[in-house]
């Protein structure tokens, strides 16, 4: 279980997070929605310690993440970055197998490659892509390689930052199913950022809406359509008018 209480983060004068309280239960799929630039990616990075939060506490299974042993902590996570963040000096399969080929759980090269190709298949990529370089792929393909890398070592907790942005509707469906499958079959905890309402409905057990640096609403997916929260209503119906300003 991941808990955040009163988490704040400021960049210069930009108060991005202003006291985020959120609980992500183990084995569930939490989806974060919210306008672009509201700090959703920053929130994930704070949990991973890639960005240091200013005040508040973040705990994983009761232990403060800032005092946890970094290697053991990070070994439990997989992360898909918004931009893919593939290593462009390495081939696709080497990207996917990056964690498998290093560290205490190091595997032989051939085995790591086989696992990588299997993970690529799960994100809808052909084995031929394995030997290409990231720069030779389209944006959507890079995103899926990033996804394959995030799940390669079968982590307990996986963060997906906009997994379906830039994908065609069919591929987006494949990825939604995959994320759902990882949570239900492998019992992983997932935290997904998305703007795509069909994704939200396909993936989420719980939904949280981030706005103005605060969690405006959180609840089970079943309550999403019936909530009277004006922020959520405006967001899910994509209205230009409402409490969320169109110019941010």
């Amino acid at each position: 279980m991941i808990t955040l209480s009163g988490v704040t983060k400021t960049f210069g004068k930009n108060r991005v997070l202003r006291g985020v309280d959120l609980t992500i239960p183990s084995g569930q799929s939490m989806v974060i929605i919210g306008g672009s630039g509201t700090g959703k990616s920053v929130l994930l990075k704070c949990i991973l310690g890639l960005v240091q939060h200013d005040t508040g506490t973040i705990t994983l299974d009761g232990q403060d993440v800032t005092t946890a042993d970094r290697d053991a902590f990070l070994a439990r996570f997989g992360m898909l970055f918004q931009g893919g963040a593939l290593f462009d000096s390495l081939r696709v399969w080497e990207n996917v197998a990056f964690r498998l080929m290093r560290g205490p759980t190091k595997r032989p090269k051939a085995e790591a490659r086989d696992i990588a190709i299997e993970k690529l298949r799960r994100v809808g990529l052909k084995p031929e892509t394995a030997d290409l370089f990231p720069a030779e792929l389209s944006g959507g393909m890079q995103k899926r390689v990033g996804l394959a890398r995030a799940i390669a070592a079968s982590p307990e907790i996986i963060f997906f930052d906009e997994p379906t942005t830039g994908l065609d509707p069919i591929m987006a469906g494949v990825i939604n199913d995959l994320i759902r499958e990882i949570v239900t079959e492998m019992g992983a905890t997932a935290m997904t950022i998305t703007h795509d309402m069909s994704s939200v409905r396909a993936i989420a057990d719980r939904v949280a809406m981030l706005h103005d640096g605060l969690i405006q609403w959180t609840g089970p997916i079943a309550d999403l359509d019936t909530t009277t929260d004006p922020y959520v209503q405006q967001f899910i119906h994509g209205r230009a008018t409402g409490p969320i300003a169109a110019v941010r």
């Binding site: 970055f81 963040a85 290093r102």
Partner: protein
């Protein structure tokens, strides 16, 4: 009161900023050195860096050296003619090349070529979140990116300097024999007779120091790159300027240490 303190503040602010920057670079250097000796090691990254920094710098260092050696021979000849000392050309060319011009010009050329490419590469990795991705994959970016490059440059630049020395002396010899009427054997004999081991070795030590500086500045500025393409551009510029200035400053300090009696 503000009229009095404002100028002081205007002086103080950049001085403090400069001191803070020196402190950060020093801490970064200490951390890189600390990680050199602790596993995990990344031999593949190291050999890749060795090729990029050492092997592919040979043409530019060689060309710099041959033209410098040739020009040096012409200068010493015409300068020496004023007091009938044309015969010193071979030995002065040799000493000038191995002690000073080989390491300094070689170092500066490597700074232009290598500090820029390291800073641009690592800076791009930073702005495209590849450094963050490394961290989430339990890999220390200093160990994986900085250590192989710094180590490779520290070992490769001395070799480049040695090769540059030889090519520079050959450049002087070519000009000496073909343009200034020296006898080939006499020229080479003079070069060998007057050159001491320490002349060569001191220059090679300088090369090691300059290699360290070049890769360190490339890695430091790359990892601290600002956001976007502009951030990477600024990081690259700072790496080249920083490496060049530090090379010249370090050259003076090392020369004081090595040669002031």
């Amino acid at each position: 009161m503000t009229a009095l303190t404002a100028p002081l503040a205007a002086i103080g602010r950049p001085v403090l900023a400069a001191l803070a920057a020196i402190g950060r670079v020093a801490l970064f250097a200490a951390s890189v050195i600390g990680h050199i000796f602790r596993p995990p090691f990344y031999p593949r990254e190291f050999f890749h860096a060795l090729m990029q920094i050492g092997w592919f710098s040979l043409p530019v260092v060689g060309l710099t050296a041959v033209f410098t050696g040739g020009a040096l021979a012409l200068q010493i000849y015409s300068g020496g003619a004023r007091f009938n000392a044309e015969a010193v050309v071979p030995s002065i060319v040799a000493i000038g090349m191995v002690r000073e011009l080989g390491p300094v010009l070689g170092g500066l050329m490597v700074a232009a070529r290598v500090a820029s490419s390291i800073a641009a590469e690592i800076g791009t990795m930073k702005v495209t979140e590849q450094i963050d991705a490394l961290v989430t994959l339990s890999t220390n970016p200093i160990k994986y990116l900085a250590v192989p490059r710094v180590l490779a440059a520290t070992l490769a630049v001395p070799v480049l300097v040695a090769v540059g020395d030889a090519i520079g002396i050959a450049g002087g010899w070519l000009v000496g024999v073909n343009r200034l009427g020296f006898n080939s054997t006499t020229y080479l004999q003079n070069t060998v007779d007057f050159l001491e081991t320490w002349d060569v070795v001191s220059g090679i030590w300088k090369g090691a120091a300059f290699g360290f500086i070049v890769a360190l500045m490339g890695c430091y500025h790359g990892m601290n790159s600002g956001r976007g393409a502009q951030g990477v551009g600024t990081a690259t510029k700072s790496a080249v300027v920083g490496a060049s200035v530090l090379i010249l400053a370090a050259n003076y300090i090392l020369t004081e240490l090595f040669f002031s009696a």
